[in-house]
């Protein structure tokens, strides 16, 4: 009871303490960090096993697990374990970057709508409502299928290896910003009435200064929660598009495109269809638990 040091109760520490009570979120965080470490260290594993992620070995297709290939090989004789790691790199990286990009758009839209109010608010929010009311998946398919040559992009861009990666991020950012925009607008509306904002207005701070220096810092924790929860969704979207052949293009592996041929594989090499999907599932559920834990920690009033 009698501690010799004074316990500080900053909101952040309180949140951390609440977060630690959420066992599933802690476990998810640990799992995700392990997974991120694994995918970063993919080249190391590649060296250790003495295999090459893109090395095609047609004499060794769909082989059973062995010392050289712990998870066996795929339909082109490539090592499954190493490809899963490289695929994880792409899938996790796409998820994080695209979720951040979407959140950035959403934050700007929400801040402007909430801060300036009036006609701008009405216009931006009707626009947001309209985007929310669109059939997401069919539009994503169309956007993913666009011929970039017809957009007048230079050939060097269109033919580069990374183009499918950037394309996914742009597409997801274009459709995924709405949740954050609504959230930020709502929070901005109430923050605008607070004394510290009035004080800043009183001393003549510019709109931009008030929005980004005074209001935005107060929005960071809800935005972090929203981003964490959306990473899972983005990974799902990426995997669906890549699975259908419209996302990340082979030979670059992603968990989604490793399943593209799965419909034939389930007949003779079912495990090849199991691993990538299982990893997507575990990753997405971990991000969702983590987001849930952060939400409880930052906004205890929302939970009962």
């Amino acid at each position: 009871m009698n501690t010799n040091k004074v316990r500080s109760n900053s909101p952040f520490l309180l949140a951390m303490r609440r977060f630690k009570r959420h066992k599933l979120a802690i476990a998810s965080l640990a799992l995700l960090l392990t997974m991120i470490a694994m995918v970063i260290l993919a080249p190391l594993f590649e060296q250790l096993l003495g295999v090459d992620a893109n090395h095609v070995d047609l004499f060794n297709q769909k082989s059973a697990p062995s010392a050289e290939h712990p998870f066996g090989t795929d339909e082109l004789g490539r090592d499954v374990l190493v490809r899963l790691m490289y695929g994880g790199r792409i899938s996790l990286f796409t998820g994080l970057i695209a979720a951040l990009a979407a959140a950035t758009i959403g934050t700007v839209v929400g801040l402007f709508a909430g801060y300036f109010g009036g006609r701008l608010d009405a216009l931006l929010m009707r626009f947001t409502d309209s985007v929310i009311a669109l059939p997401l998946l069919p539009l994503l398919i169309v956007l993913a299928a666009i011929d970039l040559n017809k957009l007048g992009l230079p050939a060097s861009v269109v033919e580069s290896e990374m183009v499918s990666f950037y394309r996914i991020i742009i597409i997801v950012a274009l459709v995924g910003w709405t949740t954050v925009a609504r959230l930020v607008r709502g929070a901005t509306l109430s923050l605008k009435q607070r004394e510290f904002v009035m004080a800043a207005e009183g001393v003549g701070a510019s709109h931009m200064h008030i929005m980004f220096k005074h209001i935005f810092p107060n929005l960071i924790s809800p935005i972090i929660v929203a981003v964490t929860l959306s990473v899972g969704n983005v990974i799902l979207l990426e995997s669906v598009l890549s699975f259908m052949g419209l996302g990340i293009q082979p030979p670059m592996p992603s968990w989604g495109n490793m399943l593209t041929n799965a419909q034939e594989l389930i007949w003779d090499a079912p495990m090849l269809a199991v691993y990538p999907g299982l990893l997507i599932f575990v990753t997405v559920i971990s991000f969702n638990f983590l987001g849930d834990g952060l939400q409880d920690a930052f906004d205890p009033k929302a939970e009962v």
């Binding site: 998946l137 269809a273 997507i280």
Partner: protein, 320 residues
């Protein structure tokens, strides 16, 4: 109220009109164009022929003029022919729509029937073992990639056990049982994916209701816990849930794209995918617009349900 709905309806129409132009433009950006397809199928065609065809089909005029011409003929009922099916677009669209409604209706019904008791049970005893289990299930349902779930179900029930067909639809005139065999797997896939979010809506709405004064009144009058939850609680908790479900039905319509494609279920989702991938411009355009219209309608319906079910709500009062 009427004014509010009129405004929302008008807004939906504006969105639909804007989207028709956007989709028209996007379809034009698909790889390949109709003339290229004709050239590849007819080796004797010369460059001059191609140019003549371009003029004939009006492909040399600006986008907005082409769009306007398309819109005028579409509004007069001429939606063109589907290249893939060699039939008028609507003749392809209607059977697909029927198949989709059959699948989505079944899945939606199952998901709702399972999710309502699950969510209510969880909310009746917050932080109990039941609550945690339902929560875990809900998270699993939200997080599972639908296409992978479909693959796993096919692997287990079609490949390993050989009980159910791996895809397709029963031929016309088949018995009810035969139809059932084909619909089971896609319907289960869609159900599992939807249960998660539905049971969470029900749970949170129920928790909100159970905090209300009238629930305390019912308790004070001596109503049993079960009666309070399942009678007083559920009826009121359903108001926001029905709204969200109406919203979701529109989305389910397009979200079934992946499931339909994997199971080769000839519905709207598969039709959209096939037409976009197969350069069937006329069909893709109309199918996408139709999906947009249905989703917008779902949203409108959600607003309507909300206003209609809850007598306390006066929408579009003074501030709208």
């Amino acid at each position: 109220m009427t004014r509010f709905l009129l405004m929302r309806g008008l807004q939906s129409l504006v969105v639909l009109a804007v989207m028709s132009f956007v989709i028209y433009g996007l379809i034009g950006l698909m790889p390949g164009d109709p003339i290229d397809l004709m050239i590849s199928s007819d080796p004797k065609m010369t460059a001059a022929d191609a140019a003549r065809l371009r003029t004939l089909y009006g492909l040399d005029i600006p986008l907005y003029e082409r769009y306007w011409n398309w819109l005028l003929s579409a509004l007069s009922g001429d939606l063109g022919y589907s290249r893939l099916f060699g039939q008028p677009v609507l003749d392809v669209l209607f059977p697909a729509l029927r198949n989709s409604l059959m699948l989505l209706g079944t899945a939606f019904f199952m998901a709702v029937v399972i999710a309502i008791p699950l969510g209510t049970l969880a909310a009746a005893k917050p932080r109990s073992a039941t609550d945690y289990s339902v929560n875990l299930l809900a998270f699993a349902g939200i997080s599972i990639p639908s296409f992978w779930l479909a693959l796993m179900l096919i692997m287990f029930f079609s490949v390993t056990l050989g009980w159910l067909p791996a895809g397709g639809i029963a031929p016309d005139g088949s018995s009810f049982l035969e139809n059932l065999r084909f619909i089971v797997l896609p319907a289960i896939t869609l159900t599992i994916v939807s249960i998660g979010s539905y049971s969470r809506y029900v749970r949170s709405s129920m928790l909100e209701v159970l905090r209300q004064d009238y629930i305390r009144t019912a308790k004070a009058k001596g109503a049993s816990g079960r009666r309070i939850v399942w009678l007083h609680g559920l009826r009121n908790a359903m108001i926001p849930v029905v709204t969200i479900l109406a919203l979701d039905f529109g989305f389910l319509f397009s979200g079934a794209l992946v499931t339909e494609t994997i199971y080769s279920w000839p519905g709207m989702g598969k039709l959209i995918f096939d037409s976009v991938m197969g350069n069937d411009f006329n069909l893709a355009l109309v199918a996408l617009l139709f999906a947009t219209a249905v989703t917008l309608l779902g949203n409108l319906l959600a607003d309507l349900c909300y206003a209609w079910l809850d007598p306390r709500i006066v929408v579009g009062g003074d501030e709208t």
